[in-house]
Amino acid sequence: MESHIAEITQHTGGVIGSAWLMIAFPLLGALILLTLGRFTNRWGHLLGVAMSLASFVVAVLAFFELIGFGEEQRRKAVELYDFIPGMVKMGLLIDPLSISFALLITGVGSLIHIYSIGYMAHDEHRRRFFAYLNLFVAAMLLLVLADNYVGLFIGWEGVGLASYLLIGFWQFKPSAATAAKKAFVVNRVGDFGLLVGMFVIWTTFGTLTFKNLGEQITAGQTNGAMLAIGLLLLLGACGKSAQLPLQSWLLDAMEGPTPVSALIHAATMVTAGVYLVVRSGAFFFPEGSGAALAVTIVGAATLLAGAIIGCAKDDIKKGLAGSTMSQIGYMMLGAGLGPAGYAFAIGHLITHGFFKADMFLGAGSVMHGMNDEVDMRKYGALRKVMPITFVTFFIGYLAIIGFPLLSGYFTKDGIIETAVHHQPILGWLAVLGAGITGFYMSRMVFMTFFGQKRWAEDAHPHESPLVMTIPLMILSLGSLGLGAYLVLNGTLYRFLSPAVGGDPADAPHFDPFTTPGLATLALVAVGVGIAWMKYGRAEVPAVQPRGSFLTTFARRDLYGDALNESLFMRPGQWLTRLAVFFDNRGIDGLVNGLAAGIGGSSGRLRRIQTGFARTYALSILIGAALLTGALLLVGTI
């Protein structure tokens, strides 16, 4: 199979040569805000926004500089410094893939920074919040811009840390603290996979930079080690992107402030797994390999699981979280299909970044007006009192269900078409998932904005301030037109092809009138219709009804937590008890014995230190004699 991946060339100078500024700005912001503490309380949030915007400007400039080069020269490695001399040179890789991510992260990130000014206005720790947000942006940019797996891993851990800090931002709530811990622990499993995967890469290829790997691995090459690497990296991707079987943390992560859910747990961080798979795609997930098949299966399973969970949630943020899982499942499915799928996976990732952030921020705007109420059964008929929020949310809604001509329509349909072509069974499951998406998203919109008022007595819903609604408007504009721009004419496919492979001449033509395309539309229409019957026309009970067996199944997150608890937590607890027992009896005995031995010898040796100058002089004399003797002795042999 011919590879169309362009060679990575070294680059200095220009904006690309200074691409590290992208990371440096938000990092500096975080440093200033965290170290100067309360001195920055008054203007800290503005600094945070400014740093994020500065980073965005650099990203835009770098983007334009990059497209100034010919397609074959659009992969630029920028060397920064020797991180571990002889082993890891730290550098950045600016190519179509990484710059797409950088634009999304800094662009959507900046909008969410601005929105947070309003959303967090009354929080006494607003400065710290912006510090963490900046930290997140810096780490995420390092993740996508690093030209090697070590840098990627540092960024990977950095976003994990930021995510942990932000989920637990309201740590006075026990639920938030627990959720943060859960996210951290579950991610540890995935991170372990990534780490071991890196070890295997190092032992197999002796390098961790993408450039060197690209030179060593010929297209289509597979063997046992590479399959192992692929599966280990997939485990890492599952953790970060909340894919089965490591999905359980994402729903709980909604305990964090809503802008966090929008930025980290919808638009950017959770897509890191997709980035990892696509970035490693040419190496470890070649088309038709076992690892690629595993990726598609994980993706298809998660897209259904997320959609089913989304159907049963009354908490608006958890509903959206289920939908995020599901949409990332689509991306994963696309990412496992080779170059043809990559463009749609990344395209869906970008449009999803817009419409999901749009809806999360919209949900935040609703909560802002409803005294932080998250139960949709206490909403209803909000479209009249919150017109801007409603319109923007509705555009995001249309985009996600794949309403023709909106963003999500093009990218999701692309994934489905490609999947049906390559993996028919999984492809048709994705069609089914689209239908379910139509149902649960409509349910959310109808319960929130239509029907009867079911507000709590002290609720006085009102539209949010402009600082919050302007980002919503910009995001909804992206949700409207971005998909058409990226997919029609294969723009994104051709842009990405130097980085991920794929023949530019093969750019897929968008054809909506295929069997899967029409079936998707029909199923979505059915889903919307059912939702209208149940939640639009009929009255929604203010208290959650008992529901069927299936509903309970979905409400309990498909028993994912129960499964984890009985399969891992309890045996894990037994294992730790056992380990502690052995540790106390066996290992501690050994260690303590050793320590006592060293301490004892230290105590005895200490007596040499008498404090008398004459003893010291004697020891010097003896030392001199020993030295002389040794030299003479060595000389004679």
Binding site: S602, A613, A617, I622, L626, L631, L632, T636
Partner: protein
């Protein structure tokens, strides 16, 4: 005899940093003689700082002009080569920050000559405004001048002179602590006696080597060895004596006994100067003697230094465990670090490239260890009991609750000493051990396996050392504070600057080692003038 005596040629430009420091020291003496007592400090402080900064600038100019001399200066007495300039730069930076610490009030006694507790002393205290002896400043400058000359000396006599110029002021300075006078005087006395003892060894060794080689110039000695019998007892005994003098200064076992006593008794800013500047200077001299002077003898000295290095690492880290006094603990830590550095000295073997790599590693280690040390001692000056600095470890219990920032900074320094990754200490140790392992693979080295063995000893010693560093951290953060625990003094601007700079360097180099490694590499690649 109608020969005209030839005036020696002196390269004033090349030697300018030395001359600036010595000149300022002489002016300092004049200030002591002529300025009224209350004005002296305001003369001394700017003079001292400016001369150190000026000397540093001159070093910088020489380095940046890229015309590092390749021949010795001053008729072959001083070699201002790449490594010398690097060491000079490091010593000047370290002494500059140490002077900022010295400048703080309350470290030095008002009248060192009075009997502790006598009425003379009380009277002197009464007239003193916290400054104490202002002679401290010229003494420090002389000591720094000696430190600069010591590693750059190109013949053994010049080296001996430098050794004495460096040591004599330090003997005095050790006895000037304001608190715990008896301990300070004892330290001064011990340091003087033992220092004199070891200097005698050095001189005796010089004489014997002269007897063998007929010259005291380092390259001359090396050439004599190439031509003559390297098994001549005169040479070997002479070298052993010389080694005693040098190893004493770096505090290698079994010549380490003075270190804890002196470090504990001396005023803490002076301890900082000795633990950083003197160590850097002494290692420069060790490298020069072993590499330039004894290059042809490395079959003989390497096994012996192997033993010394191993013993030093083990003794330093094991004895540190049972210390209850924090300055003594840091003294033993300094001994252990001297052992790690000796591993690097051993690695200067084989090809020029290998020489440069290990030299780079040592230079880097010296620079980052020095600055971290100064930072750690600066923290010590701030934690005070009514009777002076809170030296006993038990007094530090729970300090993390009382002064979280200061304790955090100190914990970070300790982690850097332990060599935890992402601190500068990690890359120092990594570079030295990697160079040592690599030297074992040099063709024709029969010590290959032994070098690996030494690295294993080093790693085990590091692990033991990590124990007592972390123990202090545990003590500070996980123990309940004592009810009458020590107070944390409000730091002066100078002390804050010292701690901030040390912290910044320790963190910065830990994240971006190439910054200092690159400079060390440039300095090391030109090697010592042979």
């Amino acid at each position: 005899m109608n020969d005209v005596i030839q005036a020696p040629t002196i390269e004033y430009g090349t030697l300018a940093p030395l001359l600036v420091v010595f000149g300022a020291a002489c002016i300092g003496v004049l200030i002591e003689a002529f300025a009224p007592r209350y004005l002296r400090k305001s003369f001394h402080v700017p003079l001292t700082l400016l001369s150190l900064a000026g000397a540093f600038a001159l070093v910088l100019v020489q380095t940046l002009r890229g015309q590092v001399s390749t021949t010795p200066s001053a008729m072959g007495a001083v070699a201002v080569d790449g490594p010398s300039l690097f060491i000079w730069g490091v010593i000047l930076i370290l002494s500059f920050v140490c002077v900022l610490l010295i400048n703080d009030e309350g470290h030095f006694v008002a009248s060192a000559a009075s009997v502790p507790g006598s009425s003379d002393e009380e009277e002197a205290e009464a007239h003193d405004n916290g400054t104490g002896h202002t002679e401290v400043y010229p003494l420090v400058l002389f000591a720094v001048g000696g430190m600069l000359l010591f590693p750059a000396a190109h013949d053994l006599l010049m080296m001996f002179v430098a050794l004495e110029v460096m040591s004599l002021p330090l003997y005095l300075l050790c006895g000037l602590a304001r608190r715990r006078r008896l301990l300070s005087q004892e330290a001064s006395m011990k340091y003087f006696l033992l220092g004199a003892f070891s200097s005698a060894f050095f001189l005796y060794g010089t004489a014997m080597i002269y007897g063998f080689a007929g010259t005291v110039s380092l390259p001359g000695i090396n050439q004599a060895m190439a031509a003559g019998n390297t098994l001549d007892p005169l040479l070997l005994i002479g070298f052993a004596m010389l080694g005693v003098g040098l190893l004493f200064k770096i505090g290698a076992a079994p010549f380490q006994a003075w270190k804890p006593d002196v470090y504990q008794g001396a005023p803490t800013p002076i301890t900082a100067l000795m633990a950083s500047g003197t160590l850097v200077a002494a290692f420069g001299a060790v490298l020069r003697v072993f590499w330039v002077g004894l290059g042809n003898l490395d079959w003989n000295w390497r096994p012996v230094i192997w033993g010394v290095a191993a013993l030093t690492m083990v003794v330093g880290s094991i004895l540190a465990i049972t210390q209850t006094e924090i300055k003594r603990m840091l003294a033993y830590s300094s001994i252990a670090h001297a052992g790690f550095l000796l591993v690097g000295v051993l690695a200067t073997y084989g090809s020029a490239e290998q020489n440069a790599v290990s030299l780079k590693a040592i230079l880097f280690y010296l620079a980052v260890y020095g600055i971290t040390t100064v930072g750690a001692f600066a923290v010590l000056t701030l934690v005070r009991d009514p009777g002076g600095e809170a030296g006993h470890l038990s007094r530090w219990a729970g300090l993390g609750k009382r002064a979280p920032v200061l304790s955090g900074v100190f914990a970070f320094f300790l982690l850097a000493f332990a060599g935890i990754p992402l601190t500068s200490g990690f890359f120092g140790k990594y570079a030295v051990f990697a160079a040592a392992l690599n030297s074992g693979t040099q063709p024709g080295d029969s010590m290959g396996g032994w070098m690996a063995g030494l690295v294993v000893v080093g790693v085990v010693a590091s692990a033991i050392a990590a124990f007592f560093y972390v123990r202090v951290i545990v003590l500070m953060f996980f123990n309940e504070p004592a009810a009458d625990g020590p107070a944390v003094a409000a730091p002066s601007m100078g002390t804050v600057a010292v701690i901030a700079v040390s912290l910044l360097v320790t963190v910065g180099v830990g994240l971006y080692p190439e910054s200092v490694l690159g400079v060390a590499n440039d300095a090391a690649s030109s090697l010592f003038i042979r």
